[in-house]
């Protein structure tokens, strides 16, 4: 054997010896020596357990601990029973997915739908509550809150025209049924009568009130445009009427403020909304597929739920906050806020509805520990994210790229010209793309977008598109 062999042999011997040595050490390591953190935890737990009874003799300690164990066991049994009952009610079976559950037959469902329609219409629009004028005789005794308010004699003649259809032509300025100067309003007696028009002197005011406030929709600085989206096709609403009146008086003040606000508006929401446009569209498609089973009723809310949760999640991600959104936090249940983070997927739309329903139902009855356990169990299932199954669409800004600027390499001056010409098309293109992301844009109105694009084009020096989109958003 040469030296190498010797050394190898020695090395082998060394390893064997080492192994033997290790084998001798192992049993020692398997003794109750824990990692330091685990040890601390164990001591604290032990202290907690034995906090009240360490002063007693050991047998009585054992008894007390046994009693505790028994109580816990009975609580677990009760819980099991409740779970089993609920499983039966929901038809869940043992450890299986949710079944259909109870269903309504067609007649019942139709009846409920009809009732719901009645109720909603009555509350929101007053349908079904209008009493025709001839039947509107005052009750013999008015309720107390109206007795002093309404003059009892002729106080009940103020019935509006129930048809709800107001003559749209402007000839109402010379109103048919109302005399302008003949019946000057009788000072106090006129309270009960329908009020006559203020007279010819007031006619110019009519024109102000009745002209549709459309021209103000063009200005991005109009005060209330942020909240509403007037467009040429809309019917005139009292909202717009009020808008116009407001604008007339406050336009000066709001001018600068509005500009600032629009610029400073946080662009995160709209940016992300942009990013989520294509994904949201997919989301809708997917969730529609998944939600066949429970029927249409659940779909609506779950869909909207998934969308808004998704939006929520996206907003969180892009704001680059490690924490959760405030609304989730405020619920005070941190585990549930984890849920909020993970519920972005379309797959989870159905899940959320089912899980949330069972979850919150349990919440009412069972003490807090169970709730957290359940939430934990839901977590792994919810981690779909959006990576599964979504076709990768090109980034919306790129798409807008192509539509906004057909070429990437022309120089600035010619591009300016092109942009002016293309403005209309751009408008359409952007609009078409911005379905989901139009929150900010919508508020400024389409025409406002035009104006801002004008500004944008004037400022633009190089085709750095993502940046420009940001600017446009602001």
């Amino acid at each position: 054997m040469n030296a190498l062999d010797v050394s190898i042999t020695e090395w082998n011997l060394f390893w064997v010896g080492h192994a033997k040595f290790k084998r001798c050490v192992l049993p020692v390591m398997l003794s109750s020596k824990l990692l330091p953190e685990m040890e601390i935890e164990e001591t604290t737990k032990r202290e907690q357990l034995l906090s009240g009874i360490t002063n007693l003799p050991v047998p009585s300690q054992m008894e007390k601990l046994k009693a505790r164990i028994d109580m816990i066991a009975s609580a677990c049994e009760t819980a099991e029973r409740v779970i089993a009952e609920c499983r039966k009610t929901y038809g869940l079976g043992t450890r299986q997915g949710a079944n259909l559950g109870p269903t309504l037959d067609k007649a019942q469902a139709a009846k409920i739908q009809e009732q719901e329609g009645l109720l909603r219409a009555a509350v929101n629009y007053g349908e079904g509550l209008r009493v025709p004028g001839d039947q509107r005789q005052p009750h013999s005794s008015l309720p107390s809150h109206l007795m002093e308010v309404l003059p009892s004699g002729d106080g009940a003649h103020n019935f509006g025209d129930n048809s709800g259809v107001y003559p749209k032509n402007t000839s109402t300025f010379t109103p048919n049924g109302v005399n302008t100067q003949g019946n000057a309003m009788q000072a106090s007696g006129g309270l009960g009568r329908s009020a006559p028009s203020p007279g010819t002197a007031g006619t110019p005011n009519f024109e102000n009130v009745s002209t549709p406030p459309m021209p103000y929709a063009n200005s991005p600085r109009s005060g209330t445009n942020m909240m509403n989206t007037p467009s040429p096709q809309q019917h005139l609403t009292p909202q717009q009427q009020r808008q116009k009146l407001m604008q007339a008086s406050q336009q000066q003040q709001l001018h600068a403020q509005q500009q600032q606000q629009q610029q400073l508006r946080p662009s995160a929401a709209s940016l992300l909304a942009q990013n989520t446009v294509s994904q949201l569209q997919d989301l809708q498609g997917q969730s529609q597929q998944k939600l066949q089973v429970p029927g249409q009723q659940q779909m609506q809310y779950s869909q909207a739920q998934a969308l808004s949760q998704f939006q929520n999640r996206q907003m969180q991600a892009a704001r680059m906050q490690p924490g959760m959104s405030q609304s989730q936090l405020n619920q005070g249940n941190q585990l549930r806020s984890h849920l909020g983070q993970f519920t972005g997927a379309a797959n989870s739309a159905m899940f959320t509805a089912a899980q949330a329903s069972s979850n919150s139902q349990m919440m009412a009855n069972i003490p807090g520990t169970m709730q957290s356990l359940q939430s934990q169990s839901i977590l792994p299932q919810m981690q779909f994210g959006l990576t599964g199954g979504h076709p990768q669409r090109s980034h919306p800004t790129q798409m807008m790229n192509d539509q906004m600027f057909g070429m990437g390499s022309t120089n600035t001056s010619s591009m300016m010209g092109m942009q002016q010409q293309q403005q209309q098309q751009q408008q359409q293109g952007v609009y078409g793309n911005m379905q989901g992301g139009g929150q900010n844009l919508q508020q400024q109105g389409m025409v406002g977008l035009q104006n801002q694009q004008n500004q944008l084009q004037n400022q633009m020096q190089n085709p750095n598109f993502p940046q420009q989109r940001q600017q446009n958003q602001q």
């Binding site: 505790r68 409740v82 609920c86 559950g101 309504l104 409920i112 719901e116 109720l119 909603r120 009555a122 509350v123 007053g126 509107r136 008015l142 309720p143 809150h145 109206l146 309404l150 103020n158 019935f159 509006g160 107001y166 402007t170 109402t172 109103p175 309270l191 329908s194 009020a195 028009s197 009130v209 942020m226 909240m227 509403n228 809309q234 005139l236 609403t237 909202q239 009427q241 249409q296 609506q300 809310y301 739920q305 969308l307 808004s308 939006q311 405030q326 989730q328 619920q331 909020g340 949330a356 329903s357 069972s358 139902q361 009412a364 009855n365 069972i366 929150q439 844009l441 919508q442 508020q443």
Partner: protein, 217 residues
Amino acid sequence: MECVVQGIIETQHVEALEVLLQGLSGVPKERVRVHELCLKSGPNLGVVPSEVRLLCDLAQPTPSWTIRHVGGAMRGAGAEQISVLVRTIVESKASNNVLRYFYGIGYKLDHEVLKVGFAFRFQRGAQFTVTVTSANKMPKLHATDEAVAVTPGIQLVEITAPAAANNYNDVASSVTAFCEYLAPLLHLSKPGNSTGIVLTAGAAAASLMSSGGAKTL
């Protein structure tokens, strides 16, 4: 501005909903008995009718009046993304001359409703007002004592939260998050969209009303 969602619940489950809301909100419920008079401006006051609602709160010993103007809702693609309705609202307390005043300036009574139920007001990321009411119509003018429910078997649940133009997104997501908690009992949606009832609401209601089997340690 306010964010608002509405839903319906069967009258038999209203008690369970009350228990749930009580638990979620932590505040005592308030009785609601509101006589709502909806006034429309007469045709001589312009082409577009203006509508204003006068709410008389009859639950208090002395009735108090509120003027409420519901404005247009936010529209467009952005609004469709949000699952709550965001609309402008103007509310103001008024004296009890308000009815006479509006009659005097040319408004006419369009319809009236009596809403009876309860409400919870609490703070949970936004200032929530959850009302559960049954809408009653009056066969005779102003006859609040003879009011009859429009839909006896179903009551309306409405959740509103005030919002401003710069935070309505957060408020909307708070409202949506809260609606999740009510999912076992009812579906909530924008006021124009109908939702139907929750089929398993009965089981959920039963478990809410039962005392459970919990023992204390």
